[in-house]
Amino acid sequence: MWRTLGLALLRLAGIMLLAGLLGGTLIRVAPGFAADERQLDSNLSSQSIQAVRQARLSDSNIPRFYAGYLASLVRGDLGTSQMLNQPIRDLLRERLPITLRNLALAVLLAWVMGLALAAATQLTGSRLLTSTAEGLSGTFISTPAAVLALVFVLLRLPPELAAALLVFPKIYRYCHNLLRQGYDRPHVLTALAKGAGRWRVLVWHVAPVSLPQMLALLGVSISLAIGVLLPIEAICDVSGIGQLAWQAATGRDLPLLVNLTLVVTFLTASATMFSDLARKTMTRSEV
């Protein structure tokens, strides 16, 4: 158990290091990296413009920038945003809780909707309900996050609901199939034939078998929710990590983008890792 956890943490650290390097390299090779719009500001003195230019040049060597960045990271210094001219630590401290709150709400709502619909379609066996659920999930799986965010702005609805609606189809479809496979198992068919109620069968026979795979889906759903929150926060003007990432990407703010890539990768990779570990532990204990 401890060895598995240690290996998973090592893998997580490796992925994060590579992700940061990837983010930094992408920005460095981007055209116009060395240019800064502050250089065109006529109010700045020649010394200030020179300092801006020098600051950009100091970031141009990616390995040096990244090594320096990691050394500062160990000391707890995340650097300063070139675009917002604020310490990145403060920016993350302000915005991360907002995104985490939205993320938690979106994932929770998506799971409640997806799981409830999947269970209801299996329990009732109603074709109308199944068709409605299929239609709903099909519509939301085909809707771009940015467009749904626009509609939510128009209707003044909470953005986390938009994220939940975009994540729920995956959860519904996966859970629906898992539960259906669960109901097709011989011991479940026997229990049903012996007159056990569908609720009882669901709780005692189908759910325990499907739970490990559902746990694996939890990590995926968190990753999905982070992905859809990016355009939603940018369009709905929510001051979270998504909006910050959007601003950093368009403003080519290298230090901020590298930090955000690390934060996003950490959230995604750790969610996947823990759900995977939980699934493995549960499967092992069942065996």
Binding site: A19, L22, T139, I141, S142, V147, G227, T268
Partner: protein
């Protein structure tokens, strides 16, 4: 279910035919401006009205559907080839090659797909010709969207490498390219095709997301994504039902792809 699939296939064929025949259905083209009638409502002359610049919405929708519907499969093809290369290599060689390849795959999977795409698209030049923006957008989709498929193909290749007929082939002296060409590729064809078809609707939606955020295909060339981007001002200022048709078309097209892929093997 079979009827739904047939209906979906018919709708896709019709959409593809309309997009291909855009030149005949909307001879005005996607960039001709009718300056006397900007932002006009639907009429016999302009079936879906005109946009702010006086361009025929119907023509733009047809040409936009053509761009999205025909370039997404090309991007999916690139992604599938890359996935086959990395996934196949990992499954074939195993050991440290597999570990390194899967770490690389995990890296791509750990960074949310849209975050990565927006970051990469944002660092590329924005003042490029419309034709180049189309190429860049769909190449990016292809080059960044292979990771999930690579995992599936790696698992499929590993399974095949353990099969008796591959052992027999190896014992008979088959190795390297011959083994891949004669035994692995034919048996992986189904998996590769499934991954290809799964990628097509995903790429259509992702292009729409990029377009809606202003990072997709640039003006005046339309795509479903760039047409959705126009909704940003439309929704806030004065929404008219016919202006939402690109969204409806997008949902219908992607739903049809989903219906065609609607088998338990693909879903779980």
């Amino acid at each position: 279910m079979k009827t739904a699939r047939i209906m979906a296939a018919i709708v896709l064929v019709l959409a593809g035919a309309a997009a291909l025949g855009a030149h005949y259905l909307a001879p005005a083209g996607y960039e001709q401006q009718f300056r006397m009638s900007p932002d006009a409502p639907p009429s016999t002359q302009h079936l879906l009205g005109t946009d702010d610049l006086g361009r025929d919405r119907m023509a733009r929708l047809l040409y936009g559907t053509r761009v999205s519907l025909f370039l997404a499969p090309i991007a999916a093809g690139i992604a599938t080839i890359l996935a086959a290369f990395f996934g196949g290599m990992a499954g074939y060689f195993g050991g440290w090659v597999e570990r390194c390849a899967l770490l690389f795959v995990d890296l791509f999977l750990s960074i949310p797909w849209l975050f990565l795409l927006i970051t990469v698209r944002a660092v590329l030049p924005l003042n490029i010709s419309p034709q180049n923006s189309v190429i860049i957008t769909f190449l990016l989709l292809g080059f960044l969207g292979w990771a999930a498929s690579a995992r599936v193909i790696c698992a499929g290749t590993k399974e095949l490498m353990k099969s008796e007929f591959v052992w027999l082939a190896r014992a008979s002296g088959f190795s390297g390219f011959k083994l891949i060409r004669l035994h692995l590729m034919p048996n992986l064809r189904g998996t590769l095709l499934a991954q290809f078809w799964i990628s097509v609707p995903v790429f259509i939606i992702t292009e729409a997301n990029l377009g809606a955020l202003g990072l997709g295909v640039t003006e005046p060339l339309p795509s479903l994504g760039s047409l959705l981007g126009e909704l940003q001002s439309v929704i806030v200022l004065r929404p008219h039902p016919w202006q939402f048709l690109p969204l409806v078309i997008l949902i219908v097209v992607v739903s049809c792809f989903q219906t065609l892929l609607n088998s338990s093997e693909v879903r779980t």
